[in-house]
Symmetry: C2
Subunit: 397 residues, 2 copies
């Protein structure tokens, strides 16, 4: 990549993060009365639902603590992160060791889901917080939550299943993928090197063994318990942006291990396959779901363009280019970056819209929901900024 | 309505039912090996998923039995209906008295949901079958299933709740609405007049007491246990096509009771409010979800055009015109009929597409899924055909 382009992109991501994304969310989404973050926001940032999603408490606290660690120490970032962590600690744990999913503004539980992703995001928040503050209790809690997450996620029967596993047992890509991310975050912030690296290797192996299908040139989202292809709606439905998120976690792991060639090969293989599947040749942008055999997809929003698959694909293509020098990835990065920046940002009130129609028209003006908060976009901006700094420093072209 | 238009519409609905909708589904969707119906079908009718949705077994068996009762006695309709009923009886009941939601082709259970709609559709199927065949066992089973449905649907705590009712107890429009429809179907086919009419009155009262909000000019979809407005995403999200389905169940009740004026007023009030909410002034057609305060809707497919709200609105507007003679309803009927017939039918392979974008473009070519089968469209075609016959006979204008 030309130095000029590196510098231009670096400014887009850094300034976008510091001057646009962060001021949109903070301190406005902080509940000064009850603590925690209210992320359901209209186009202009007005709060349209005071309920609090537990995922967003952890994700936002992770982001703010990580900014303190990676950008510069700013007391206000820590003060804001503490709001989310305190709210979680006070309200978001059930009497078993599991966490809730959705809370009232005051902190009463509204919903608990059968998944353990609230725990995953709390774990990464506590890890980043412990590094930012030296809080050893937080580090211990983070490791405990990670162990609890793994126990629930990997012990069949411990969580109530969605289907009836005696008839058709399935496994999903989300569990090994998110495990890699938690383990990487704990290792970076707390330093549990052996434990985390073992888990990362195990999960990358699981993705290769069960989900990557060379004969289909595809990463599947849901497979049988032994990796069997399930030739029904659920088993055929793949989520390219989700697999590409896994791709960059693996490429990040390669980077952490001195550009390990095997990991680069695996990450790039996933990216290559899923770019082919997901990039919309008609309108540009990443399709949400596609059927691996080309049949119709049952989910209604299959052909919409969501913000987060674009964040993940922007990271993955930039990182693949950085690690391989291949021009193809620079071209893909430019394609997805340009499409995303032409359609998602709101020039008037800042931040990105989350949900576009296939052709890029806006489907909803909401900037935040129970699902969209300050996470994927600022994580992309921060990660790409730092990768570009490295590229600039190393003179990569 | 002019006689010429009555006759034209009557042909559209009758011929569409007999020459287009029915041949698309039957006998092709019948599993000659394991029994039951496979409704997941591509544009041309090819089966793309062999899993069987229990809802569709009951709905299709209801349709076929009802055609035998209402159109003409045809042995093949009964033979086909029996396929669904036998499959349900052999495979679809759990060891408690509840039914499953999704089965393998062979009849093994894949999923059981926390709702009791499988039971609702089995009850109406058995009722219509019992009338068609004189099978008294089926009539008893139908009544038992209806009682079981009501017990589960109306006893708090008996079914696992989605949320945490101690924090925010809710009630949904679907339960009283579908109860009216089951009770009407049992009364029509089995004749349990007092029992069913009492239930219908109770449910219409529930809709009026808890869900109809004159100050908002709206029927809410989800309210607090005492009918309180829930000013959060879930409580603000209304489903105009669903409320309009309730409207025509109530208008049908008026028709069954000699055009009872109070019931006509209630049904038309719902239709008037929800037409205002749901009719898309920009592109035409019925929006799927709207926010009662005009805020963004959280569900991704809020502005899509689904086939079934159009089926329900076509019935409701025609019936409202028939019962009141008001020109407004004839105009609305023409608007929604014309929009639907301009966008949903597939002239090449028959039947209707199910899922369009807001502007009427096709989102998926699938004709059938776990959710879309031979029900809403043929029910509309049959019901409107019969209403138009009545209008023709009575010289309504």
């Amino acid at each position: 990549m030309q130095l000029e382009r590196i510098e231009k992109l670096l400014n887009v991501y850094r300034d976008g993060l510091l001057d646009d994304t962060l001021p949109f969310w903070f301190p406005g989404c902080i509940d000064t009365e009850h603590g925690g973050f209210m992320t359901a926001r209209n186009r202009d940032g007005a709060i349209i639902d005071t309920d609090k999603c537990v995922w967003q408490q952890g994700r936002a606290a992770w982001l703010l603590s990580t900014l303190h660690n990676a950008v510069e120490p700013r007391q206000e970032w820590l003060d804001w992160a503490r709001q989310g962590l305190d709210f979680m600690k006070r309200h978001c744990f059930d009497t078993d060791d599991r966490m809730f999913f959705q809370m009232t503004r005051e902190g009463k539980p509204l919903r608990k889901r059968r998944y353990v992703f609230s725990e995953a995001f709390a774990a990464i928040a506590l890890a980043a917080w412990s590094k930012a503050t030296g809080d050893e209790n937080a580090a211990r809690q983070s490791i405990d939550l990670f162990r609890s997450f793994m126990r629930y996620a990997n012990t069949p029967g411990l969580l109530p299943p969605k289907g009836i596993p005696e008839t058709r047992a399935t496994r999903g890509l989300a569990i090994p993928m998110i495990t890699i991310n938690i383990a990487q975050t704990l290792r970076e912030n707390i330093g549990e090197v052996d434990f985390c690296t073992t888990e990362i290797d195990r999960c990358i192996g699981e993705i290769k063994t069960y989900f990557m299908k060379p004969d289909m040139e595809c990463v599947l989202e849901t497979v049988g318990s032994k990796g069997e292809f399930i030739d029904h709606y659920d088993g055929r439905t793949v989520n390219p942006g989700h697999a590409i998120e896994a791709a960059w976690f693996i490429l990040h792991e390669a980077r952490m291990r001195g550009n390990a060639p095997e990991l680069i090969a695996t990450g790039c293989q996933i990216l290559d396959w899923m770019w082919e599947r997901g990039w919309d040749r008609k309108y540009g942008g990443m399709l949400y779901f596609v059927d691996v055999k080309g049949y119709p997809v049952q989910e209604y929003w299959h052909d919409m363009k969501f913000w987060w698959p674009h964040n993940e694909t922007i990271i993955a293509t930039l990182l693949a280019h950085h690690l391989t020098g291949e021009e193809k990835y620079e071209q893909w990065h430019q394609l997805v970056h340009d499409w995303a920046y032409a359609h998602f940002p709101d020039p008037e009130y800042g931040e990105w819209y989350g949900y576009l129609h296939r052709d890029g028209r806006i489907s909803t003006h909401a900037k935040g929901t129970m699902w969209k908060g300050p996470f994927h976009l600022p994580r992309m901006q921060l990660y790409c900024w730092k990768v570009l700094e490295e590229m600039k420093g190393s003179g990569t072209k």
